[in-house]
């Protein structure tokens, strides 16, 4: 089946894709800073090709080299990457890959990440790209470094490099029973090696450090409170900032009186066009000052949950963004001839990422140079936003991303960084801005709401013959059906969203897989065929078949029949190189119309596993996070206001919501490692919906799914607790 390759990431208007400027300092200066040793660099052209595989609006990277790896004279290996650790465990897994190729102990590797002043340019941490792109990138650098160390030792001993081996941070000459540690070899050296990137990499089957359950690096700092998150950063003389927010989206300021705020001790009000903020000696006073500002806003009438899906459909294909379309055969003719037919509309509401650490930044100016510590998945993107705002060269801006309190796709932008930098410039001192939870819910961006319309036809024996899938607004990720269907029309229609929206873990895959797998379930029931059997009948992809069969086997699919109180459901899919299938068991309390997920078995395959413990944590976490979107998370809004911008009003999955979860990992050492941060979230919701259907005969086509209110666009307030 051919399908026009979908973009690997969906860009929305808020996301700036214009990396610019040259490197902020000469890489040769690196050795001075790092104190000698061996520095391994790569020409940027190749890095770019490997990283992206696509072009970015004619952007040209400097024909410079970038440094990826440095071996110091004490044997410590510093690895530089612009990727951000947000809880997905790449600080550990990337270090494992480097240790593996370098033949160095894991503990000798120090990852320097997400710092625009130190690391090579990077597009950002999203799209499950770290493992498939940054992984091979760093492995290549490490393999080159290993070869160089072999050659250095060979030269010193006057032997052939082929007679030597690299192991555990040493070059060993076993014939002559001698060895040199990497530190001994690099001592006194001041070498910069530019590599071509054509090194041979170690096969996963041969891995000794990669592929093992190395515990999270710096794990101890998380249980002692020592780890410094962006919101924990403190600078000498630092002030605290806060920003005045409008009463609603698209509001215009009618009048403002800041006199009461200005009376507070040490408070300075900063006004600059539409921006009004305050700085104060402490965080409490900063918030108090914002509350003391009297502002009147005009907020125009705007859509609400009640009409959102009509609004999205009505404005389809008008957003200026290009959609995608795949057509094959004739759906119309095939539907006419089909004996099993089903047509249904599915919807998903806007939901919030709600990372437990809200947006935070500390900005510090030193003359015309700006340093910002902030929580972002795109430190280089935030640097570009800052250079644009202040009209200064990229070389004068450094963005540092301390490992943060997560993002899930929700921290691609640099709002707090820009605010802190504005306030710091005006105050002449470092300023910290930490968003409140209400600000995070209201002024960040959301997972798009969307409408999915599916029409399908099959022959009496269950062979699919027609498939038509339209997605309005939520996106194109995983919109292509993995099942064999001759006649297809699959189309994504961008719309104009009334709320600010953007990337969310798995992008639109969670929505499209929910719709498709719910519909496949409906088709199976209509054809009178077991839902697993129906899928396998129409599926060739061996990797997807394998996860379905593995999940079903572990779950004991088909062993028990669903009853009105207990249902079993199955769903699966593939996206971004990750294959997933989930089986869910639900209990229905008919008296209070409550669904409880009792047990989930999820099979996962994403090629060779780099760290089975980290991977298991990611997949389990994705299942837990998926429970929210499946059953109760939804943003309630009307007239430009978010109506539930608090944890007391917007429910997140809690301990009591978490079922028994069994994750089965399939390790395909013969296949390249794909990313695993996202697609694991996609199968749970349809598996649960299908289980509810199996128990009750009620199809819940709207996420969040609730037996209490099955009316699209008219959700009950989420006052669950």
């Amino acid at each position: 089946m051919s399908y026009r390759k979908e973009p690997e990431l969906e860009s929305f208007q808020y996301e700036y894709w214009s990396p610019s400027g040259s490197l902020s300092f000469d890489r040769r200066d690196f050795l001075k800073v790092l104190g000698g040793g061996v520095l391994v660099c790569l020409t940027y052209d190749l890095a770019w090709t490997q990283e992206s595989g696509r072009s970015f609006g004619g952007h040209e990277l400097p024909k410079d080299v970038s440094a990826w790896l440095h071996i110091a004279s004490d044997g410590q290996v510093k690895v530089f990457t612009g990727k951000a650790e947000v809880g997905q465990n790449i600080r550990t897994s990337l270090a494992q890959l480097v240790a593996e190729e370098l033949r160095a102990p894991f503990d000798s590797i120090v990852m320097v990440m997400g710092d625009t002043g130190l690391t090579p340019w990077d597009m950002g941490t999203f799209g499950s790209r770290t493992t498939p792109t940054m992984g091979p990138q760093l492995r290549t650098m490490a393999a080159a470094a290993r070869q160089m160390l072999l050659e250095m030792a060979a030269e010193r001993w006057h032997v052939s490099p082929d007679a030597l081996t690299a192991a555990e941070g040493k070059i060993v000459d076993s014939q002559n029973s001698r060895s040199l540690t990497y530190g001994e070899l690099t001592r006194g050296e001041n070498l910069v090696k530019i590599v071509s990137g054509q090194e041979t990499l170690t096969q996963a089957a041969e891995w000794k450090i990669a592929g093992t359950a190395v515990p999270k690096s710096e794990g101890r700092d998380f249980v002692t409170g020592k780890h410094t998150y962006p919101s924990d950063i403190s600078r000498p003389g630092m002030l605290f900032g806060a920003v005045l927010r409008a009463d609603g989206f698209n509001a215009t300021l009618e009048s403002i009186d800041t006199s009461e705020a200005e009376k507070l001790p040490g408070v300075k009000v900063v006004r600059d066009g539409d921006f009004t903020g305050v700085v104060a000696p402490d965080a409490f006073t900063a918030q108090k000052a914002i509350s003391a500002i009297r502002a009147k806003w005009n907020v125009p009438a705007q859509p609400s949950n009640k009409n959102i899906f009509d609004v999205l459909k009505a404005s389809a294909d008008s957003g200026g963004e290009e959609g995608s379309k795949h057509a094959a055969g004739s759906v119309e003719q095939a539907m006419a001839a089909a004996s099993v037919k089903l047509e249904k509309r599915y919807t998903v509401q806007y939901i919030a990422h709600a990372p437990l650490e809200p947006r935070a930044a500390v900005a510090e100016w030193s003359g015309d140079n700006l340093t910002v510590w902030t929580g972002t998945q795109r430190p280089f993107g935030v640097r570009d936003q800052l250079t644009q705002l202040f009209h200064i060269p990229a070389a004068q801006v450094r963005v540092i991303q301390p490992d943060m309190g997560s993002g899930y796709g929700g921290k691609h932008t640099g709002e707090a960084a820009l605010e802190a930098a504005r306030l710091a410039k005006s105050a002449g001192k470092p300023v910290k801005v930490v968003w409140t939870r209400q600000e995070e819910f209201t002024w960040a961006y959301l997972r798009p709401a969307g409408v999915m319309e599916i029409k399908a036809g099959a022959q009496q024996d269950g062979t699919l013959v027609a498939w038509e899938h339209h997605n309005y607004n939520s996106g194109s990720a995983a919109i292509a059906t993995p099942y064999n269907v001759t006649n297809q029309l699959v189309q994504y229609h961008p719309s104009k969203s009334p709320l600010r929206q953007g990337s969310y873990r798995s992008l639109a895959a969670a929505a499209n897989v929910f719709a498709r797998e719910s519909h496949m379930d409906g088709m199976a029931h209509a054809a009178g065929i077991d839902p697993l059997e129906f899928r396998l009948k129409n599926l060739t992809d061996p990797r997807l078949r394998a996860v379905f069969e593995t999940a079903a086997g572990q779950f004991g699919w088909g062993r028990s029949k669903s009853t009105p109180e207990r249902g079993f459901g199955i769903a699966g899919g593939v996206d971004k190189g990750g294959y997933v299938a989930a089986c869910a068991e639900v209990e229905i309390d008919h008296a209070i119309k409550k669904v409880r997920i009792v047990r989930v078995v999820q099979a996962w395959e994403s090629g060779a596993i780099v760290n089975p413990d980290g991977l298991r944590n990611q997949i389990t976490g994705a299942i837990v996070q998926a429970i929210g979107g499946a059953l109760f998370e939804e943003i309630l809004f009307a007239d430009g206001r978010i109506l539930n911008p608090r944890f007391s009003q917007y429910c997140l999955p809690r301990f009591s919501d978490v079922p028994r979860i069994e994750v089965v990992l399939i390790n395909r050492k013969d296949l390249p490692s794909a990313g695993a941060g996202e697609t694991g979230i996609t199968a749970l919701a349809p598996a649960v919906g299908n289980a509810i259907f199996a128990a009750t005969g009620i199809r819940l086509p709207n996420m969040p799914m609730s037996l209490k209110n099955n009316t699209p666009g008219q959700p009950e307030p989420a006052a669950r607790k």
Binding site: V86, G87, Q88, N89, P215, K216, G219, R220, F222, V223, T224, G225, K226, H227, T228, Y229, S231, D232, S234, F240, D282, A283, F284, A354, P355, L356, E357, P358, D403, M404, G405, S406, Y408, V434, T436, R437, D613, N617, Q618, T620, G621, A622, I623, V624, Q625, R646, F647, S648, L652, P653, R654, F655, S656, V658, I661
Partner: protein, 159 residues
């Protein structure tokens, strides 16, 4: 502004702050004890959990003036002479975190639970921990970590 003396992790710390400022804000922004986290500001997520006289308390909704006559324990105060408590060690062993932002609150909530109930049932653990949110979804591992920490301790170990 008021002058307060807080007993934090066994040390008496003098701090000046408005009486209505939250203990969380005072700990983080005035005493630079940043292991205690802000998550919601309304006692819903538990990221700000500290122990007051051994009992888990939300520091985000507690005015500092009400915390003066108690012994406050934050995450920084658990480790003694480089040795982790059983709960901390158990979280580390189980890898019971992803981004780790909720971890301080989780550990203190669990510590408080095990002070009160040395061998809690799974139901009791879920009930006790339900006010703490892990957005990364590490709940199954946290549950396992608390269970393991609850098992009889070798002599000389503390929770």
């Amino acid at each position: 502004m008021g002058e307060f003396i807080l007993n934090v992790n066994g040390a008496h710390l003098r701090v000046s702050a408005p009486a209505e400022e939250s203990l969380l804000s005072v700990l983080r922004n005035r005493l630079n004890l940043t292991g205690t986290k802000y998550g919601c500001g309304e006692g819903q997520c538990g990221a700000c959990t500290v122990l007051l006289d051994g009992r888990a308390t939300r520091s985000c909704t507690l005015p500092v003036a009400q915390a003066t006559s108690t012994q406050i324990t934050t995450i920084e105060g658990l480790e003694t002479n480089g040795k982790l408590t059983a709960v901390q060690q158990s979280f580390l062993n189980e890898g019971a975190f992803q981004c780790g932002y909720c971890t301080s609150g989780m550990i203190l909530r669990a510590t408080s639970l095990l002070h009160q109930t040395s061998s809690p049932t799974e139901e009791q653990i879920v009930k006790a921990m339900d006010g703490n949110i892990c957005r990364c979804g590490s709940q199954p591992r946290i549950l396992e970590a608390v269970k393991r920490a609850a098992r009889p301790q070798p002599k000389g170990e503390t929770r």
